[in-house]
């Protein structure tokens, strides 16, 4: 079976010397070791090709390895399945992307990622949307023949459209009330609205380590105020969602 180098993370410390051994086992029970280039290093281990098959167990193991490394070093997590033929190829990657790696490492230094999901059960929530529809606001439509099926069809569609717009406005207001105070406490944030019809907010926050407690307390306070919503705050995570680079 052919062996590859699995890359878990890029580290900003020069840890290639034998004094630094992570003492962490990789995916294939091979020890993780460092390959260095200038003042950065890659955490790698030998793996057989079949150990990189996608499964939730392997993905969790991969995440755990990154997590263990993150406890000791500032790092950029690599995407699951990042493999190279040999150490020389790993060094080549670091050489080609050195400045991007450095920029991203500086950005995430001394920071942690938090994930926030907000779920709103619209059937149970008292959600007062504006369902008033006044045909007088649409004079040209009103002037069409009252017996026209097309006129009545459009009126129904407009009512539906107005109701949906009103609903989205309410959702935007709720999201703003949650996101705004958390954004102030974070260094960077990513927000996705209405991931599904129930998950109204899926956000990730990059928070300075000395702000973590305040961030968690503020989220707890918001949860207490928003009794109709369900909260899931997870973390601290390595900065999975705040690394912006395209590997050359």
């Amino acid at each position: 079976m052919k062996e590859y180098k699995c890359i878990y993370a890029i580290l900003d410390s020069d840890v290639k010397s034998s004094d630094h051994k992570p003492e962490i086992m990789g995916l294939d029970s091979s020890p993780v070791y460092f390959v260095g280039f200038r003042d950065i290093s890659a955490a790698v281990s030998n793996v057989n090709q079949d150990k990189m098959k996608v499964s939730s167990d392997i993905a969790f193991s991969y995440e755990k390895i990154i997590e263990d490394l993150w406890m000791k070093y500032n790092l950029l997590p690599m995407r699951f399945g990042s493999v190279m033929k040999n150490d020389t190829n790993v060094i080549e990657i670091m050489k080609k992307n050195y400045s991007d790696f450095i920029d991203n490492l500086k950005k995430v230094e001394n920071k942690s990622e938090f994930g926030l999901e907000i779920l709103c059960d619209l059937n149970k929530t008292d959600f007062k949307t504006d369902n008033t529809f006044n045909l007088n606001n649409y004079k040209k439509l009103k002037q069409l023949d009252k017996n026209s099926v097309y006129r009545n069809y459009l009126i129904d569609k407009l009512k539906q459209h107005k109701s949906e717009d009103s609903f989205m406005k309410k959702i935007d207001d709720i999201i703003e009330e949650i996101h705004s105070p958390l954004k102030k406490l974070s260094y960077l944030s990513n927000v996705t609205k209405m991931v599904t019809t129930k998950i109204i907010l899926n956000a990730t926050y990059l928070v300075k380590n000395d702000m973590k407690d305040e961030f968690i307390q503020t989220t707890q306070q918001i949860k207490r105020e928003k009794k109709d919503l369900k909260f899931l705050l997870t973390g601290p995570w390595p900065p999975y969602n705040f690394v912006n680079l395209s590997i050359k």
Partner: protein, 114 residues
């Protein structure tokens, strides 16, 4: 996810897990190319895309009516077109044995297509 990573949670997170699974399954990973039902699989994919475009056209049409930028004739023609489009979609869904939920797509900020 390890429980020690959960800092704050409402009583049950099962609902959130179920919802996140919906996102993962928003689009089929592949078209079922089994010779016996390739037509059905392809029809489902094509009709989903047509329905997405139809919904977008409908939304844009409502905005045009709201902005008062259409004449009475244009509004009436628009109503006729949108109604016929919707009826035609219903016919096609029936022909291929598809229900509304079969043509669902998660559209992020727009919510589900259906």
């Amino acid at each position: 996810m390890n429980d020690d990573k959960i800092i704050i949670k409402s009583e049950s997170i099962d609902e959130i897990a179920e919802e996140l699974e919906k996102v993962e399954n928003a689009l089929p990973n592949r078209i079922n190319a089994d010779p016996d039902n390739v037509e059905h699989g392809l029809a489902k994919l094509v009709l989903t895309l047509i329905e997405l475009i139809r919904k977008l056209v409908e939304k844009q049409s409502m905005r045009r009516i709201e902005s008062d930028s259409l004449t009475e004739e244009e509004i009436e023609r628009l109503g006729e077109t949108l109604m016929k489009l919707e009826n035609k979609m219903s016919e096609l869904k029936e022909i291929f044995g598809l229900k509304d939920e079969d043509l669902n797509l998660n559209l992020g900020p727009l919510g589900d297509l259906m």
